[in-house]
Every structure is written in structure tokens, then in C-alpha cells.
């Protein structure tokens, strides 16, 4: 009960923080829409080729975009964490009786919401432009990607709490982002690539999320691909939540010197 209340309080705090920065709300929506408007047309000429059933480019592309939204919504969590570390907010909250898991979960739930809202908007708009929505599969897909957003959010928070510096966090996140997204076939299916690339992709946990996403968007729910996707993504989320909570238990500002 207390835990639920604390989580709600922290979620509310983080949600207010986001709503007060409308720039991020706007870009959170426009970025995926720009991908749909400016990138998807490039794929039209590939339609009918390998990996793209004729006339169904969006059916392959939209699930990838949804994964990208979930990834982006989660990975931004670490930056504000560093500001809160530097301004003593986290230290102060750590001296209250509040649960550290609740502290982490408040941010994670906010980020899941920040994925879900643009996600639904993208699905709606894509449907207008010819995306064949299988509603049952899409519902399960949103759950899967909520797990991914949670995993990314908790990881980003943990990275921020441990690295403590904006520069280091930026270096790690951008350094990891590229191989993770390239080797998961988010934008283009990996079946277009050579065999060594496809083999390498199997080492990337997000590859399984993307594979499951495409299967779910196509309406097949009870398949091994989807099961494996949930298994890998769920395990990643559990691990990240554990790491994030542990990081909050020990979080300490970089220097005791006064910032102001």
C-alpha cells in the first residue's frame, strides 16, 4: 500500500516534470511521424523485393518504428537523474523512508506512458496510410514494448547514477544505441543482409524484441518468436530494474562541493 502510494507520488512528480517541458512532448510525437513521412517512402521501391511482401511496406516498417519509440522514450531517463544527483534531490529522497524501487519505478512508469501515447498515435496515423492493423496482436505488442521501454528507462537511470556525468552518459548511450538498433533490424529487416550480419544480430537482445514485434503486428501471437521476444525482453527489464534499484540504494553525488 505504502509502496503503491510512493510509486504514484514519484510517477506524478516525473509526469509533471515532463508536462512542463512541452518541447519534449512535441518531438516525442514528431520524430516517429517524420520517420513515417520521410523514411517510409524510400522503402516503396523495395516493395515486392525480399523481406517486403508486395504493397505492405508499412506492415514491416511500423513495428520497427514502435520499437524505436520505446527505446527512445526509455533511454532519456538518465539525464535528469544526473541533475537530481548534482542538486541533492536524490540524496534528500534517500534519507526519507521512501522505497528506492518506488523511486525508480516512478520514472519507469512515466517513460512507459511516454512510449505508449506516441505509439498509439503512430499506429492510428499509419493505419490511415495503409498499415494493416491486427488489433489483438497490436495490444500484445504494446505490452511487449512497454517492457522494453521499462528496461531502457531503468538502464538509463542506473547509468546516470553510476556515471554521474552528462558527458560520460552521452558517450555510453550513443555508443550503445547504434549497434543495438543497427543489429536489431529496426529500420530494415535483417533478412536483407548477409549471413554474418544475421548471425551477429542473435547476440543483441533487442533483435528478439524486434522479431517478436513484426510477428505480433502481423497478427501471429502464439508463436515461438513472440515467446522468445517476451522472454528476452522480460529478462532484460527484470535485470535493469534490479540494477536501477541497487544504484539508487548507493547513489552519491560526484563531489560534495557546492554547486550553487
Amino acid at each position: 500500500m505504502t509502496f503503491a502510494l510512493q510509486t504514484e507520488l514519484f510517477f506524478h512528480r516525473k509526469l509533471l516534470e515532463t508536462l512542463r517541458q512541452p518541447v519534449w512532448l512535441v518531438t516525442g510525437l514528431t520524430t516517429p511521424l517524420l520517420y513515417l513521412a520521410l523514411f517510409a517512402p524510400l522503402l516503396r521501391s523495395l516493395a515486392g523485393g525480399p523481406a517486403f511482401p508486395p504493397g505492405q511496406v508499412l506492415d514491416v516498417f511500423v513495428p520497427g518504428i514502435l520499437v524505436l519509440i520505446a527505446f527512445g522514450a526509455g533511454m532519456g531517463a538518465g539525464w535528469p537523474v544526473i541533475w537530481e544527483l548534482d542538486s541533492g534531490v536524490i540524496e534528500r529522497l534517500r534519507v526519507t523512508p521512501a522505497s528506492r524501487f518506488a523511486l525508480l519505478l516512478g520514472t519507469v512508469l512515466r517513460d512507459v506512458l511516454m512510449f505508449a501515447v506516441p505509439g498509439v498515435v503512430v499506429i492510428a496515423i499509419a493505419t490511415v496510410f495503409g498499415f494493416h492493423a491486427h488489433w489483438g496482436g497490436l495490444a500484445v505488442l504494446l505490452v511487449l514494448l512497454a517492457l522494453l521501454a521499462a528496461a531502457c528507462s531503468a538502464t538509463s537511470s542506473a547509468l546516470g547514477l553510476n556515471l554521474k556525468q552528462i558527458g560520460s552518459l552521452a558517450a555510453v548511450v550513443t555508443g550503445v544505441q547504434l549497434p543495438l538498433t543497427l543489429l536489431s533490424g529496426i529500420l530494415l529487416p535483417l533478412s536483407l543482409g548477409p549471413e554474418w550480419l544475421r548471425v551477429l544480430a542473435h547476440l543483441n537482445p533487442m533483435y528478439y524484441t524486434v522479431q517478436a514485434s513484426r510477428a505480433l503486428a502481423a497478427g501471429s501471437v502464439l508463436t515461438g518468436t513472440v515467446g522468445l521476444g517476451f522472454l528476452v525482453t522480460g529478462a532484460a527489464a527484470a535485470l535493469a530494474l534490479w540494477w536501477g534499484t541497487r544504484s539508487y540504494q548507493r547513489a552519491m553525488a560526484l563531489s560534495p562541493a557546492r554547486v550553487r
Binding site: T2, L5, Q6, L9, R13, L16, E17, R20, E84, D86, S87, G88, V89, E91, R92, L93, R94, V95, T96, P97, A98, M252, A253, L254, S255, P256, A257, R258, V259, R260
Partner: protein
């Protein structure tokens, strides 16, 4: 002021070592102290002496390597949750959420300590009034983002955040650093009022006057251990006495060193030293020694150019114990600060 089980804070043999680039750096080498309920206790020392590390251990932020610490009747190591419920903490960094309003900050803090929404909002209104953050024409201040606050307003909010749940023991880490004299005096008054209301206040400071005038009792720390502990008056009397400085006129018939030897024999004068042409007399009774000294000078017909009396300060205590002055900081604090960084 006795070290009984009823102490608000009881610390024995607290030790902490940080690893800095693989090498151990001792931050605390054995802190012992006891704080009585309802007093303002000051931890005075130079930067890097271990003040913040001590506070972080007592507030459950950092685990100690060894030693015992009881805070508000709970063991810091074994019952951290209980300690957190009973204490308030205002860190050096402040800790107000600058994107939220003052009121939102206070309400969240209250709810986290288990106050109901109604109780939290009542307590919030009360504190906004006490700390002058919400009244009258400035009523909007509490509903503005904290980033728009002045330094003094922000610090007052941060102290209010620390006492939202009426803790029995309040920890303040360098509470007045960065404040102008006016805000500093106001905060001192507010801290005294908290003490008068029954709150035990444990603060760290590197300001001599803050330790001397604000604290009921002081522990002076250096290199991670307590080197002196008592009321400011006790400490000053124990370690140092009043001094009388007399500067003879350059044309005086007797040279300063000769005169100093003579004055050393005057009643109530303990010793006499010569510094830059001035004779510095350490005395046991200031008024009587003054009369005697000037009697001698008058009898010899020695004109004086300047004369003054100096009372001892806590810096004299620090100087006697360490051979260094608290005023010239900087020396060998670098390694300790790196240690805290590594933590």
C-alpha cells in the same frame, strides 16, 4: 550533556576509509561523540576533516567500516529505516527539486513520511508562514518553480523540507554556506527556534563564528577524529586565555624584549611574547592584569602607541591541537576531497 543512552546521537569509534585509485585514504579514523536531546551540536573543522562523511553515515547515506552509531534511538547500521523515519536532513547540495514549486516539494516530502494529504497541506501552510515563503502579497512564491527563488528563499525552503515531518533530530550540512549575512542571521534564528521547540540540531560548519555563537556544544574534528569537545566557552577557556597586546612607543627608554621580561613578572600575567614590536601578554585575570601592567608602564614613564585585549576564539583551540589555523584552509585537504569524490 552526559553520554547516556538517552543521547539523541551517540557515536563510538566510527571509521571510514575510501579507495582512491586503488590506495586507501582514511576519512574517519575513529569518531566518538554524544549529542544531548534538544541541543544545537556543531561539528567544526576544515574542509576534508570528515564532517560530511560523518553526517552521511549518521543519515544512513553511507555505510561505516567500523564503529557504532545510534541516532534518535535507532542503530544506523541495523535499523536504517527507523533512523530515516525519525530524522530530518538538509544536505550541502540543498536537495530542492528546482523544476517543481515550493509547495509541491513540501507536499511530496510530507506524503513520503506518511502524512495524509490533508495533514501534509496543513503542515505545508504552517511552514510556508514560519519561513516567510507564502504569505500575503508574496503568496505566489510557494507556487512558483524553485528555480526562480533567491539563494536565501531556496535555503529556507530546504530547511522546511527537512522538518516537514517534525523530526526529533535534524541534520544540517554546512547550512549557511553561500548565504549573505542577513539571510545567515535569519537562518541562525530559525535554527535556535527549532532547538527551543525541542528539536535536536546536529550541524557541520567550517565557520568559527557559527560554531561559537550558534552551537550549544562543539566537536572540533581534524583528519577524521574529534580533537576537542565541549561548550564553546569551555573549550576556549581550556585551551586559551585572554591576551593583552601593548605596543611601546619606538622612542621608549627600554627595548620591547627587556620590557616583556619585566611584564612577565607582573601579577595575573602568565607569559609574555614579543611579536612585531608588540608585547603579547597571556593573562589569567584580564581586568586585574590590565591595571597592573599599565601601572608598571606608568611608573617607568613608558609611552604606549597601542594597546588592545583579545579574547580567545575556537581557532586558538584548533591551533593548539594541530599547530594549524582554521582560517588558512587548503592544506592537505585535496586528498580527502578526492576520497569523497571516489565514494
Amino acid at each position: 550533556m552526559t553520554e547516556t543512552a538517552a543521547a539523541a546521537v551517540q557515536v563510538t569509534g566510527l571509521r571510514k576509509t575510501f579507495q582512491v585509485k586503488g590506495a586507501p585514504v582514511a576519512a574517519l579514523t575513529g569518531i566518538d561523540l554524544a549529542v544531548a536531546p534538544g541541543e544545537i551540536f556543531g561539528l567544526l573543522g576544515p574542509n576534508g576533516a570528515g564532517k560530511t562523511t560523518t553526517l552521511r553515515i549518521l543519515t544512513t547515506l553511507l555505510p561505516a567500516d567500523a564503529g557504532e552509531a545510534l541516532v534518535a534511538g535507532a542503530d544506523v547500521r541495523r535499523e536504517p529505516a527507523l533512523v530515516r523515519r525519525r530524522i530530518g536532513y538538509v544536505g550541502q547540495l540543498g536537495g530542492a527539486d528546482v523544476n517543481a514549486t515550493g509547495r509541491e516539494n513540501l507536499l511530496l516530502a510530507g506524503r513520503l513520511y506518511g502524512l495524509s494529504a490533508a495533514d501534509a497541506s496543513r503542515r505545508c501552510a504552517e511552514l510556508l508562514k514560519v519561513f516567510g515563503l507564502g504569505d500575503g502579497g508574496a503568496g505566489v512564491l510557494a507556487d512558483r518553480a524553485v528555480r526562480t527563488y533567491s539563494g536565501g528563499q531556496r535555503r529556507r525552503l530546504e530547511v522546511a523540507l527537512g522538518i516537514m515531518h517534525r523530526p526529533g533530530v535534524l541534520f544540517l550540512d554546512e547550512p549557511t554556506t553561500g548565504l549573505d549575512p542577513q539571510n545567515r542571521a535569519n537562518l541562525w534564528d530559525e535554527i535556535r527556534q527549532l532547538r527551543d521547540g525541542g528539536t535536536t540540531v546536529f550541524l557541520t560548519t567550517h565557520y568559527l563564528d557559527e560554531a561559537d555563537q550558534l552551537s550549544d556544544r562543539v566537536a572540533i574534528v581534524d583528519h577524521g577524529r574529534v580533537i576537542a569537545l565541549g561548550t564553546p566557552d569551555e573549550l576556549k577557556r581550556r585551551y586559551s586565555a585572554d591576551t593583552i597586546s601593548v605596543t611601546p612607543d619606538p622612542g621608549a627608554p627600554e627595548a620591547a624584549p627587556v620590557l616583556a621580561r619585566e611584564l612577565a613578572g607582573v601579577p595575573y600575567v602568565d607569559r609574555a611574547d614579543v611579536e612585531d614590536g608588540a608585547i603579547r601578554l597571556t593573562v589569567t585575570d584580564t581586568t586585574r592584569a590590565m591595571a597592573a601592567v599599565f601601572g608598571v608602564l606608568a611608573a617607568r614613564g613608558i609611552p604606549t602607541r597601542a594597546a588592545s585585549v583579545a579574547r580567545p576564539s575556537l581557532d586558538d583551540v584548533f591551533l593548539r591541537e594541530t599547530g594549524r589555523s582554521l582560517r588558512d584552509k587548503g592544506e592537505d585537504t585535496a586528498t580527502q576531497e578526492t576520497a569523497e569524490v571516489a565514494a
